[in-house]
Symmetry: C2
Subunit: 221 residues, 2 copies
């Protein structure tokens, strides 16, 4: 199995880019190699000159999505010394990643989570699990320092991921809420909770959000 | 468009059941009408005697999933007078719904959210949006009563949904965490937040969770 992309091959990159756009729009099963070839202005035989098979193409796209994620989220927060600030920044960068229209590879990772098989699936799953472990470990560090209270770290990690990754399903670039407002609101909610009496902001940022009528909402589903 | 199922037709029900199982396993695009017919022990022509077309079948399954959701979540919490208790109970029942293996129709609603088109998609989207509005309105009511603080209700509603619905991606029936432990932890986190100094439980239930090593985790992705 060829792992990842070949960054020097422009033609290969262009194929990944086109295939990712189609698969993001139509789903993996809903996109044929014939359609990918046509969109790349190649014959099907010409496409197979660059690509082993359809599953290898999906794997390469997902691997590139994980590279994007690591560049745009993990690499920017990994060295923040304070674990609470690391978690906050991680939430913000991850929301930015899923709200940017350029992240079709990330949407494919989220949507086609059960499509890959065998070794390719295990490899992507390992990269995803490393992120879960990073959130769990950062949270556990904050608990050890007495900054956060001891909730189960797995529940914390997947609550974090659920809030943040679900955003790709409802965010509209032209909707009422900007990506920054969503990030501010979710960081506030995740760290301070909804409960009025106990709500103590751990952030130096002012809380953004006012109570707006639910009818003013713009979201997808 | 025929809306919903025909509850009196046992043959039709059995077809929906079989099709839902296949689509849940393989995805909508990955499941052919030929395969559905074979699994129902029908010819393809025989299948079309009961079903207009594949999209109508998906629509009927999703509609049935929304019925299940309304019976098992909304109907059980709608009449709870206190809005905070209504939200808590709603979170618990919704987690129970997505952790029960019987809810393949609900998984299909979550996974195939962009597959339906036209009138059928609008109809399912309206049913989904009614749930978002219910959470927003319940939260707004609690804010008016001074029980919860004013975070943006859309962010609250989709954070709730993200945490709860994402569970279907990582929950393992034989994993370390039971559905009840996940529900207890998420309710605690959602209402009281992570922050140590401000954490005041608004619940009469004792907090369940201790800090366990992240390595003891069992989840799917």
């Amino acid at each position: 199995m060829t792992v990842g992309r070949k960054p020097d091959d422009e033609r290969y990159q262009a194929i990944l880019e086109t295939a990712a756009r189609l698969i993001c729009e139509r789903g993996y099963e809903g996109t044929s190699m014939q359609e990918i070839a046509a969109a790349c202005r190649l014959t099907k035989a010409g496409l197979y000159h660059h690509i082993q098979n359809k599953e290898q193409l999906l794997f390469a796209i997902m691997n590139y999505g994980m590279d994007l994620f690591e560049q745009q989220v993990l690499a920017r927060v990994r060295d923040i010394a304070d674990p609470v600030e690391r978690l906050r920044a991680c939430m913000r960068h991850n929301i930015a990643l899923v709200t940017h229209g350029t992240s079709k590879e990330v949407v494919i990772i989220l949507h086609e989570h059960a499509t890959l098989t065998g070794e390719a699936r295990e490899y992507i799953d390992r990269r995803k699990k490393a992120y879960v472990r990073f959130i769990e470990a950062t949270f556990a560090e904050a608990v050890r320092l007495g900054q956060l209270r001891p909730i189960d770290p797995t529940i914390v990690a997947f609550s974090f991921l659920g809030m943040v990754l679900w955003v790709y399903k409802w965010f509209k670039p032209d909707g009422r809420l900007t990506d920054t407002q969503i990030a501010d609101g979710m960081v506030d909610l995740f760290f301070s909770g909804l409960a009025s009496p106990g709500a103590v902001s751990t952030s130096s940022e002012a809380p953004v959000l006012s109570l707006v009528p639910p009818s003013a909402v713009g979201e997808k589903s």
